[in-house]
């Protein structure tokens, strides 16, 4: 995609953003899996409350992390999506959580 050719036109490239929402105790398993798949990186973002099939939860005042969720965001090349979904599906399907895939554009494609 070429965004608006002109003075500062920057070439952008299609990548995929994978958002993995999992139970907090499972976080390290998932990131280990991503490490094994040699992704270029990922970011962990907090979720402070939510509701799912089991009802609502909040992190307020909590001592443990058993009932909490976290989000792992990982930008990857489209060619890697399928492998990563397969690799994380094993983990996620047994536990509480879900995965979404979104089209994103980046400026420096070689980073991912």
């Amino acid at each position: 995609m070429i965004v608006q050719p002109g003075k500062g036109a920057m070439q952008t490239h299609l990548k995929k953003r994978i958002d993995i929402v999992v139970e907090a105790p499972l976080l390290q398993r998932v990131t280990n899996q991503l490490d094994r798949e040699n992704v270029s990186g990922y970011s962990v973002m907090p979720i402070i409350a939510g509701r799912g099939h089991e009802g609502p939860w909040t992190s307020e005042g909590q001592l443990g992390n058993a009932s909490q969720m976290v989000a792992i965001v990982c930008v990857v090349d489209p060619a890697r999506v399928d492998d990563l979904l397969a690799a994380t599906f094993d983990l996620i399907s047994r536990q509480i959580g879900h995965v979404t895939v979104t089209d994103v554009h980046v400026v420096r494609p070689q980073r991912f």
């Binding site: 139970e23 907090a24 105790p25 499972l26 390290q28 398993r29 089991e54 009802g55 609502p56 939860w57 909040t58 992190s59 307020e60 005042g61 909590q62 001592l63 443990g64 992390n65 058993a66 009932s67 094993d90 983990l91 047994r94 536990q95 509480i96």
Partner: protein, 323 residues
């Protein structure tokens, strides 16, 4: 006994717990940030760990200590079998759910441990410092018992993961801080105690109040969400099981010849159910189990039961049976 119960119920600690419970049930927006709750838990564990260690420095290693440790581990490993049998006989819980609940009740609640030491402090009843180590040792055997019991439908995926699991369970934060502070207390003894007393001893009661306010809040919120998971039989289990655990511990304490305070602590440990360490471990080890059931039981029913009724009861019984 009645006197004791009243004094417990009217202690600032219990009243702050009730305040939190009320605020949550009334849907007040009163809330304690997660970071603060974790600081309070860390402080309380560090404090009882260190004080236990400093006390230990006085008395050294004894046979009684080894016996109590063995009893604690045995209690933690065996009560899950009783809990499982009871649940399967009296409730409709699935085998996996019953095993997960059993793990929680075999293990201990560090917070309930803190509460009984607070109550004993108020009554000026001493207990042995090594019980901190016993508490730490009682956290994990129940988890292994439950994994043994649970149906093996869902195989652990990787050996590396199950090795990881054992390390995670054995080195979870509350065990490390309890045992670490115990060791540091034992090493630095009286010298360390003098330095840290204003922080570790003098502020204890106040910070325990704040902590129990938070416990009240999360208990109340847990109950609001969780009660629909509970049949009457399951809820009854959460009151009966502590009494069974406490009774077994009382027998062990009497056999070993523990003091009043130590008997009360061992009973409370056995009667308590985990809601920090074991829930996280179960999410990894038994993902098919519904996490709401054991959490609602241990936090929503057993913890308030122990705090309001159980602890004074265990102290009263300890007063009867111990020398």
């Amino acid at each position: 006994m009645f006197q004791l119960a009243l004094q417990n119920l009217l202690s600032p600690m219990v009243l702050f717990f009730v305040l939190g419970l009320f605020a949550a049930l009334a849907r007040s927006d009163l809330s304690i940030p997660e970071a603060v709750a974790k600081l309070l838990a860390l402080y309380l564990l560090l404090s009882i760990g260190f004080r236990g260690g400093a006390e230990l420095a006085h008395h050294g290693f004894t046979g009684q200590m080894a016996a109590t440790m063995a009893a604690g581990i045995l209690l933690s490993f065996t009560t899950p079998f009783i809990a499982y049998a009871l649940l399967r006989a009296t409730t409709g819980l699935s085998a996996t759910d019953a095993a997960a609940v059993a793990a929680h009740y075999g293990s201990i609640s560090a917070v309930t441990f803190v509460a009984v030491t607070g109550m004993l402090g108020q009554l000026a009843i001493p207990y042995d410092g090594y019980l901190v180590a016993v508490a730490a040792a009682m956290e994990t055997p129940a988890i292994f018992a439950a994994l043994w019991i649970a149906p093996r439908e869902t195989p652990m995926t990787r050996p590396s993961e199950s090795r990881g699991l054992i390390r995670e369970i054995a080195l979870n934060g509350s065990i490390v801080i309890l045992l670490g502070a115990l060791l540091i207390g034992a090493i630095t003894g009286q010298r360390g105690m003098v330095m840290l007393k204003p922080f570790i001893v003098d502020s204890f009661a106040g910070l325990l109040c704040l902590f129990l306010l938070d416990m009240g809040l999360i208990t109340g919120r847990g109950l609001q969400q969780g009660w629909r998971h509970l049949s009457a039989a399951v809820a009854a289990f959460a009151v009966v099981m502590p009494l069974i655990g406490g009774t077994l511990a009382a027998a062990a304490a009497a056999a070993i010849g523990l003091s009043v305070g130590s008997t009360a602590v061992l009973m409370t440990l056995a009667a308590s159910a985990s809601y920090i360490a074991v829930p996280a471990a179960m999410r990894l080890a038994l993902p098919a189990a519904n996490p709401s059931i054991p959490l609602t039981l241990s936090l929503g029913i057993t913890f308030p039961f122990n705090l309001l009724i159980g602890i004074p009861l265990y102290i009263a019984i300890a007063n009867k049976i111990a020398q």
